[in-house]
Symmetry: C2
Subunit: 597 residues, 2 copies
């Protein structure tokens, strides 16, 4: 067998018990690895009603089937746990080099259980696994922690995954960071590590992942690398300008949110574009493990240098906070990386605060001198620090925009789905993306069925983005395919150039399995339904498959998408039908049986 290493490392932090167990191959065949397998194990092992911060919650840090192999973009892994932000089956994805290193050390997954009585970190060096005292790094930021642990470990090839102060302080927006600048950003997964008193995992492996059919694989690799090379997005757009190449594109389509989604067009967007970043700030491109695209950025600015910012971060600390200042965007992004905070949720939450202040909900005296107005760059930066350390109003913000707005009786001002903040696309101008948002199992999110490639970029054929026709079907297909890609440990950006059959060929050549296209997509559908079933068990209903009222009732006020609202109520029944769910959005038992669940 190739791809999988066949071993799972299970670490109980309460009793300091470390053991390895075999990967359940039958389960892996049905749910693949990463997001799928870890999600399935989560639903089997973790009681439904457990609190995210309970020792009974578990964290599954799972490499994918192909992570650490020769497959292009195979650098990814998933942090799966119960989300403190919204109770969903959190599955936060990250790239870089940590996941492959875990595979090299001989493990497909680390399961963290229980709760340490004092801060610890985990050190993995092939078969040598130790729980170590973390008193000296608790309180340190992500950069400091990484540096200290690497120096102590004494091997530059060791990779560090860590939380920052925000995770220690249990912010619902805390990320898990790795390789300094890569983030498993969403759903507050960093706070779950914080609640368990585990600061970091350093890993070094000297093994290799097997490839079942090397000769067949070489042919597939030639083919998929050519496709990546021939595709304009993966060979030109993303490598040259990074993900922020989307700034101008989204803005020109009038779906680039401004001031907490009050508007959707920024006439000065180009000042904050990927093109401008490349000219003025780009020091070098960064790539994750075996990625031919290298969309990652490393920039310098007046006060510092560091990884990023990505498109979402440029947007959220720029236009969405009304800030027209690249220096402030760099600073804000850097602070989020240092503190271990999700840029999307933090930026949208600050923008929500700005709108609450604009509309008089938040009073000046609550601000304790820190400005919270759209466009106030240095105020924005200061709030990030206050969120990380839960100071003043920052303590309320640390729980996310939904709880913040609801606290002022204005929940509708939180631009979120299932309490998680929405990213940088106004759903009113991209009907499919809005359906993805509304039905995303982990709440507001752009990487659970990504409609920008077809509806904005027209990578294959380009459907009318304002139309709802056929969108239920394409969104469902995209969601299931994304679940496959996430579960095997590849990057979603590979899908600009590759399709289901390409993934199948890679998976089969590496694992030695013989999936058909249909069987592989069925794996993705299982992953999706497993996550849905969890949501239903904890009380989410059809009523939660929706968007903030703003998108349903208020037409976009200006710009190229002026006049449009999102038509989720029309889309949802068809989506449920396509999914084989009841009109209430419940997977039918027939459908689950047919999927072999």
């Amino acid at each position: 067998m190739g791809g999988y290493r066949g071993r799972i490392l299970r670490v109980n932090l309460t009793d300091k018990c470390i053991k390895t167990e075999g990967l359940k191959l039958e389960l892996a065949k049905k749910f693949l690895g990463g997001r799928g397998l870890a999600g399935k194990m989560f639903t089997e092992e973790v009681p439904t009603e457990v609190d995210a911060f309970s020792p009974e919650n578990k964290v599954f840090i799972a490499a994918g089937t192909l992570t650490g192999t020769k497959a292009p973009t195979s650098g990814r892994f998933m942090v799966v746990t119960k989300s403190p932000l919204n109770g969903t089956l959190a599955a936060s994805n990250s790239g870089g080099f940590w996941g492959p290193q875990l595979k090299f050390a001989g493990y497909d997954m680390v399961v963290l259980e229980g709760k340490a009585d004092a801060p610890v970190y985990l050190s993995i060096e092939d078969d040598k696994v130790e729980i170590k005292d973390a008193a000296h790094i608790w309180g340190k930021d992500v950069y400091e922690t990484t540096s200290i642990l690497k120096a102590e470990f004494g091997d530059d090839q060791a990779k560090v995954l860590t939380i920052g102060p925000a995770g220690e302080n249990l912010s619902f927006m805390a990320s898990v960071m790795n390789d300094l600048y890569r983030a498993a950003g969403r759903n507050g997964v960093g706070a779950v590590l914080g609640s368990k008193n585990i600061k970091a995992i350093i890993v070094r492996g000297t093994g290799r992942v097997e490839h079942a059919e090397p000769n067949a694989l070489n042919e597939v690799l030639t083919d998929v690398l050519n496709k990546i090379q021939e595709n304009g997005v993966t060979s030109q757009g993303l490598p040259t300008y990074g993900t922020a190449i989307l700034v101008n594109i989204m803005n020109e389509n009038g779906v680039y949110p401004v001031n907490n989604f009050q508007e959707s067009y920024n006439e000065n967007a180009d000042e904050l574009s990927g093109e401008t970043m490349t000219e003025k700030y780009l020091v070098k491109k960064e790539s994750c493990y075996r990625c031919p695209i290298a969309c990652g950025r490393y920039c310098d600015w007046e006060e510092g240098e560091g990884g990023g910012p990505e498109y979402e971060s440029v947007w959220v600390f720029g236009s969405n906070c009304g800030v027209q200042d690249y220096q402030a965007i760099h600073q804000a992004n850097d602070l989020c990386n240092r503190f271990g905070l999700d840029t999307i949720s933090v930026g949208v939450t600050i923008a929500t605060g700005m709108e609450l202040f604009q509309r008089g909900y938040i009073k000046t005296e609550e601000l304790e001198g820190t400005p919270l107005e759209f466009g106030h760059a240095q105020g924005m930066v200061e709030w990030i620090r206050k969120i990380a350390y839960r100071e003043g109003l920052g303590a309320k913000m640390a729980l996310g925009s939904y709880r913040l707005a609801k606290g002022y009786g204005a929940a509708e001002l939180s631009m979120s789905v299932k309490k998680q903040e929405l990213p940088a696309c106004d759903p009113r101008g991209v009907q499919g993306q809005g359906l993805s948002y509304a039905t995303s199992n982990r709440g507001g999110c752009h990487v659970r069925g990504y409609s920008i490639p077809p509806e904005i970029l027209g990578t294959a054929e380009k459907p009318d983005r304002f139309s709802i026709k056929g969108k239920a079907k394409t969104v469902k297909a995209s969601q299931d395919l994304s679940a496959v890609i996430d579960s095997v440990g590849l990057c979603l950006f590979s899908s600009f150039a590759l399709g289901l059959s390409d993934y199948k060929k890679l998976i089969n050549a590496i694992t030695g399995f013989d999936y058909t296209d249909e069987e592989l997509l069925a794996c993705g559908e299982r992953v999706w339904n497993n996550e849905r079933l969890h949501n239903l068990r904890i009380g989410y209903t059809k009523a939660d498959d929706t968007l903030p009222k703003r998108f349903l009732k208020e037409p976009i006020p200006s710009g190229p998408s002026k006049g449009h609202v999102h038509r989720i109520e029309e889309l949802l029944p068809e989506y449920y039908t396509v999914r084989g769910w009841t009109p209430d959005g419940v997977p039918s038992s027939e459908h689950l049986n047919a999927l072999g669940m």
Copy 2:
């Protein structure tokens, strides 16, 4: 003034005196920075007849005019000193991040004088400069030294330049390494540091380089970045496949040397191509400071992982040693990086040894059990270690192929010019490149007037590569332009997309000077003539402007360039005329006056 920081750091290792002095701006206007300015200072300050290892020799480690600025590819610096390999004015170029960091610390150049009585290293943190004891890192390899110094320094942003054991052991092929995998490779400059007992320089700067005309610069940047993006070599070939994209191209032109240049076509070259590397071994692309190209590679292989290999290294440890084994190429490249050895000179010297053995000059008993046959991969790898530590026959090899072959009475088997080994292009199939080799001021070298872009790739118009018509003129122009690019601190690869006027615009916008195209090219010509004058002073003559006999007398035996020899004797008179030199290759005083020298 922008670009320059205006300060030079002068360190006397004998008396441990450290001082800063002002940059001589009038000199910089005429010779630019980097290679040009340092070369001029070398000829003014260092006595002509001094031995390379004498304390009287000096090392000028010089950033360029634009190093550390927003100009694309502005990551480069030069190590200028007298070469132990051939006495020439060595100017070895490297990229990465060390050079920009020196500028950030506030210096355009470090001058090392004298000789320490025990191993030391230099620590630079802005204005805090210290000579420190290096007993604990003397003997360590490049990776170990880098790791130890960074950990001691305690700031991940610090950049390390160091020699390896080969430099300590005074190999004439020792490189100066920086940022782990970047090499100022040629002319044995690493041994000069070794002779002075200076192991390393760690530098951290928190300042910035000024840009004299930021608005004008933004326009220029937009333009030059577009040109780099629109050029197939800089936006597709090099980023996707690295420099080793040249393997198949050069081989298809029949100028890809095999077995120490005995043949020039390898029918299995694709097994060792950049395309194959990308499929099988590429972990990530690496870029130098502000480089949109990112031709650097980071690979893994069966036994390890690390930076490179580049085209020259793939060739020299592959086809040129008759080795058809990528694992061995990776190993050999890695060892050269660790030991601080120039891959080109080392590989050609081993290949020379192989031919000496093939022809019976070297006897089996001299090998002490280590095979030295074309195609013996593990023997080749073992000889690298023996060269670094000067063991057995490795001690002779450590002085380069010319001294090795001459020692056996067969100097003509050294594929070198002015005692320095030739790189991966058979000059018989590219007449202009052969002229560049023969007239390169530092000896055999492909980056002092690079004829592959026009004659093989046809980047502008494509002259007949077998013809000598017009080549003297184009080579002279290319040599002078290269001198400009080297002196301002940009990467030669930018010239695939950019021309003289582009460089002029960048330089003027950043420095605030107002060079015309002609004035700028005259700077390059001054740099060239200054180096030439040094060579003449130390005894090189017209007779040294030639190629190994093989290229003049033996036609290429097979492949697409079959039947050709190099016509240096026909080219040279025209070249001297174009250069404004006498028929003996001496710059005329009229010409020097006209150049303002």
